[in-house]
Amino acid sequence: MTATPVLDTVEVASRTPDQKQPYAELGLKDDEFAAITAVLGRRPTQTELAMYSIMWSEHCSYKSSKVHLRQFADLPKGDRLLVGMGENAGVVDVGEGLAVTFKVESHNHPSYVEPYQGAATGIGGIVRDILTMGARPVLVMDPLRFGDADHPDTRRVLPGIVAGIGGYGNCLGLPNIGGEVVFDPSYQGNPLVNALCLGVMPTDRIQLSAARGVGNVVLLLGAKTGRDGIGGVSVLASASFDEDGPARRPSVQVGDPFTEKLLIEACLEMYDAKLVAGIQDLGGAGLTCALTETAAAGRSGMRAHLERVPLREASMEPHEVLASESQERMLAIVTPEDLPAVLAIAEKWGVLATAIGEVVEGDRLVITWHDEVVVDVPPASLADDGPVYERPMARPADLDALNSAALPAFPSVEDLRELVLRMVASPNLCSRRWVVEQYDRIVLGDTVLAWPEDAGVVRLSEKTGLGVALATDGNGRYTRLDPHDGAMLALVEAYRNVAATGAVPIAVTNCLNFGSPEDPEVMWQFAEATRGLAHGCRTLGLPVTGGNVSFYNSTADVAINPTPVIGVLGLFDDVARRTPMGFQEQGESVLLLGDTAEELGGSEWAWAEHRHLGGRPPAVDLERERVLGEVLVAGSRDGMLSSAHDLSDGGLAQALVESSLSGGIGARIVLPTGMSPFVQLFSESAGRAVVTVPRSEELRFTEMCAARGLPCVRIGVTDGTALAVQDVLELPLDELREAHEGTLPRLFG
């Protein structure tokens, strides 16, 4: 039963073809193992097996999603996309010689096991992705999903996750300019922690990951490598596979934002001095991924001397060194001439830098451990040629019943005042102040808009005011009811949020959080959602620059609501013309843009008041969204708008409350006749926004809407310190504020 500590070299593997391999324990299927053996012409060594098991995992190989994600790569690129999908993050030209790169990624499972560190390292990981492209990271966002707000485990998970995101992002000096907090029981036991980062660079500083140039040095930068985050591969550590199966170590990684900050500054200084020939961050799959991807991208041979890797624990074995997900590391390819300069910069910033290998002739990745060959593989077989599956799909059996479920009875007018108070205090609609106050929102001194605005806005150039806007959205209930339209609704909401600030939407990133791809109903949801998203992007003329797929989000076999989180990037020629969401002046006209229909399927009202999920989500009209976006941008450009706020969860009532509270100014509203006040206040019809305009601009603005065929109705005027809806309700702002702000501190404070 004791393990034999003999190193499993390539030579040993060739001699012992029949030795039993624990590939099943490592998650590889019979045919996948057969494919590996065919590629190598022999059985894999233990270390090679570990590498294939990681690189061919769902997480790294995208084997179930690849066939669907192709739709995004096929979208028209537009004239701004400098680097598309496939690299670490897409790069978008924003003019003035600058480019931005942005991406959203999930860190769901680690954040459930260890909320603080899981969330913290989620930020750390996405930041390195952005750094890898050559950009200086300048902001983060955090779309989050939790179980029920009053569930005891949410009390364990949420404060830790929020503290972890703040702890890492604040210490890195990156402003947090937005995100989401959503509660739904489907995320109980499987919270979603998605993290977004955006970086900016001169267009001529874009870095790529390819390792090229025979003789170039492979340099490992940053933290020492430890046993953290080894996870599944730890089964190999026991070297014996008895009946009970080997114990797996929990794959918890601890973040060190200080080291990451130094790594960022050191890398940027190296980029500026043009000292880096290729660079890759170490994230999931650690060195395994970085070595194979750089070699494969460069179509190069590579040799790595694994014993040179600085270790935290001397007893680590080769497969552990290769699988470790220790944070705050980067792999750089550097010419021998530039090496001294690179080492000097690393030293200046106190960053460890170790030459661990070199680019060589040929097309093999050869890894040695004290001169014994433990890996000899074609790198592309790991990085690019993993398995690809067309998984079986099936429309969920309960979908028809869900879609035809009748809504609960609507409340009467007398009940609406109390309903508004309850809704603005409900977990999904209440103020996020308790969360966002734990985040630094202003560091770097360029934050123009952040919480509670529709989109975050950051200035890129002090001289010209060039800037970007970003919003993320995703509604799991809508997507559960119709994955195709749900994904489009997430897209158009983020689009609308960006346009509401006055920015022109130009590009999309996404994080697709779903259940198990081996469940045909989940796979159908995934296929529908990607189809919807691709269709939406095509129609709106937006390229998808990158993203992330997170499968296996389920608790005890029950999948989460399918949750595509969509991030939309917008562009400002001058951020000084941004439109805030809060009412700015007394006595301005309040206009409702778009059409309101009776659309309460999947709504926040049905859920918050009745725990009801059924019917159809709101209809999507992409052309209407485009026109609405144009009007919001034109209104900003021509200085007509004092405020703009998009309508989404909670409908008109929620938007009016938020604009009133944000600006500290009330409104007198007169609802149009012909539709019940309840429906007008709580319907979640898409393609709508509330704006305020000075009286002097009203005619010009309404004529512009008319000219573009956008419905525009004057519904009232900003006034006083209460929100009054004629013949329906009157609510002092203080009372609203108390209801809106009290919930999260009460639950988590």
Binding site: G166, G350, E437, G445, T447
Partner: protein
């Protein structure tokens, strides 16, 4: 003549560029200083910026105070060089003994970032000379260890000698003793503040307004007049 004001960058400093911008907007000339250099390049004043020097892992500011640049700052502060420590910089000033007391974990145990109302009390420092005593201003706080503590004797002395430069109004964001947001040394040249004046210098940025500019413009005016 324009005032040359140094901003020291420690490993983990975050608001250094922001402080430089604030100096520029106030009409001064920012000079980047590196923690590892003794040389302060003959600057007329020094800002120790906010951030998480050395990760703030042990205690905020504990390691940074040993930097070579700090040895020079301590020496020249003794000769009257104006020094402003903001947030992490305030922590460094306390750790290095240039200011009394210490900054500990916020009582609510969270990092907190919000626009904060303050009342300026002591204007007997170049850094606060642009304000009127009793003037109310709004600038953002953002810290996890901003809870000012000192012995009763020290607190009494600070108040008795008029060395409290600003206090929190309304909700005390971190539990600071006697609502203290910032203090100065006897001479008035060394000031530590927990809130971030450099984040309230442009109406376009953030939501606090431009009250923070006074910290820098007051200094520039004083230096140029001298």
């Amino acid at each position: 003549m324009t005032a040359r004001i140094g901003v020291v960058t420690f490993p983990g400093s975050l608001d250094d560029r922001d402080a430089q911008r604030a100096i520029r907007l106030a009409g001064g000339e920012p000079v980047a200083l590196w923690h590892g250099d003794h040389d302060l390049q003959g600057v007329d004043a020094v800002v120790l910026p906010g951030g998480f020097s050395y990760g703030d892992y042990l205690r905020a500011g504990a390691i940074a105070r040993f930097a070579p640049a700090m040895a020079s700052v301590i020496e020249q502060a003794g000769r009257g060089l104006p020094v402003l420590g903001i947030c992490n910089g305030f922590q460094v000033l306390c750790e290095s003994g240039l200011l009394p007391g210490a900054l500990t974990r916020n009582v609510e145990l969270h990092f907190v970032n919000r626009d904060q109302r303050l009342v300026v009390e002591s204007t007997a420092s170049p850094w606060t000379s642009a304000f009127e005593p009793g003037q109310e201003i709004v600038i953002p706080v953002k810290n996890g260890e901003g809870n000012y503590v000192a012995s009763t004797e020290v607190l009494d002395a600070l108040e008795g000698e008029g060395r409290v430069i600003a206090r929190y109004l309304g909700r005390n964001p971190n539990g600071s003793a006697r609502d203290i947001a910032g203090i100065r040394n006897e001479r008035g040249n060394v000031v530590g503040v927990m809130p971030h004046p450099e984040h309230a210098v442009e109406s376009l940025i953030g939501t606090a307004g431009t009250d923070g500019l006074g910290f820098f413009s007051g200094l520039v005016t004083t230096l140029v007049a001298a």
